[in-house]
Symmetry: C2
Subunit: 286 residues, 2 copies
């Protein structure tokens, strides 16, 4: 069920792993690392792997629900506008059951959120036992947009990398597998995608004039992403660097990252905590 399809020449987990010294500026956003298939075959493979993911996700849910398994999975999606976070949510995560998925987007903090520590809203949204949590943006916004826009002093944001590492260590120790994906598109590809949002009336709602202001800060964001990867790709919660100019590749890759994470949990269907034979006999009589 979860064997890596042969079109993958390398495990996505390892080929996409951020390695020290890697430069954000050098990422080939159009590449398809570890994959030797083509776009034409992607839909079929995606459907097949969606099904494998869905079964594992149900198993995770079953264990949380019926076997007292306290473990959970947290998918963290970070990326510039149009990187394709929404598409991952819809086409990858969406293959699972709404029952076992907890999605949360982190936008500009509300007044209440601002009155708390920056990790407060994050802690409130963590997946409980058996669930797959999905963060569409995350606590990393507090070292990205917050830093680039000077919303707080460097003395305030600089310690956050260590704080985040400690926070994630705490989650991992408590049984959460964290899958962190940094999604990168090229400036050109972003331009195309923003233009499409401006062309199509059914996409206007996804466009925000502020997106262009962010676009002008590209170099600053590149630097902030560089520091983020350098400082928060840990053994317990490594970053994956995902080229996203080809949506079909990005979706296949995240599907495999989730399948790998779930497979590593060595899940199986929870054994009955009741006497199956006795229940069969009772049922026959009713």
């Amino acid at each position: 069920m979860s064997a890596l399809p042969e079109l993958w020449t390398h495990q996505p987990r390892s080929v996409l792993a951020f390695r020290p010294g890697r430069r954000v500026a050098d990422i080939d956003t159009n590449a398809t690392p570890g994959f030797r298939g083509e776009k034409a075959g992607a839909p079929e493979l995606q459907a097949e792997r969606n099904a494998a993911f869905a079964e594992l996700q149900e198993m995770l849910y079953a264990n949380g629900k019926a076997a007292g398994d306290h473990r959970s999975v947290l998918l963290v999606l970070q990326g510039m506008d149009t990187a394709g976070k929404g598409g991952i949510v819809e086409h990858v995560v969406g293959a699972g059951s709404p029952m076992g998925i907890r999605y949360r987007a982190f936008g500009v903090p509300t007044a209440e959120e601002r009155s708390h520590h920056y990790l407060w809203r994050i802690r409130n949204a963590l997946p409980p036992a058996g669930l797959l949590g999905v963060f569409d943006r995350s606590h990393y916004e507090d070292v990205l947009v917050v830093r680039v826009h000077n919303l707080v002093e460097p003395a305030v944001w600089a310690p956050r990398y260590d704080e985040i590492n400690a926070f994630e260590k705490e989650l991992v120790d408590a049984g959460t597998t964290i899958v962190k994906v940094a999604m990168f598109v090229s400036l050109d590809e972003q331009k195309k995608r923003l233009a499409e949002r401006l062309e199509r009336p059914d996409k206007h709602w996804k466009y925000n004039p502020g997106d262009l202001d962010e676009r002008q800060l590209w170099p600053q964001y590149q630097q902030a992403y560089q520091d983020l990867l350098d400082k928060t790709s840990t053994e317990h919660a490594p970053w994956h660097v995902l080229p996203c100019d080809r949506k079909w590749y990005a979706r296949l890759a995240v599907t495999e990252l989730l399948i790998e994470a779930l497979t590593a949990m060595r899940l199986s269907w929870p054994p009955a905590d009741f006497d199956v034979e006795a229940e069969r006999a009772r049922l026959r009589a009713l």
Copy 2:
């Protein structure tokens, strides 16, 4: 996009509507009201209608997100064990995007929930603007299991029908469309489905010996459902009576109920709240 497929001879909304005088004991749980198609054609039709639902659901989300539309939809699923609530969540609701769906199951109340009014946990789980909320069981448990098991005195549960009607009126007035579905299987079909859960190790986790205790209380539940339908099928939030022995029919029917509810909201893609031409020019320059 949302025209009713011709295999439907009647609008599910009207053919499934609970009508005063209807007896729960007389429901033909094996019927396929309003539908003249067969099981063989169901998967294809389901896929087609899932897509229509998904587009409308995205439109609802877009309006909540980008157009200040405060409306939402709440699907309430009630039914005996094995009626197929989970299947509806997975195969119908699951066609939408996790971004716009908020699922919540209501089981035995926690200590904290018990310390509050029975509607407290319900209010906390209501869908915000633009979302489709799904209640897997609901506030109706407080006039079903609570009543059948005498968890509180009749003097306590009896006023709840009116309270619930008032509560739902409040929601509807505030912009929530409530789609209530009471799911009915026959005693025989339930026996088959429970037996399957006992046969298949991948289904053991869905089985609970308590399910058989509930099964023995079938007549009491039938009566509780009868009163529920008689007393809480209102103009603002009518009940739909769904025969569920045929899962494929139940799923097609709930899909249409959701499509009808969303269509009645006369949704369209939110218009741009910015100058599209000006943004195009800005983008070209960047």
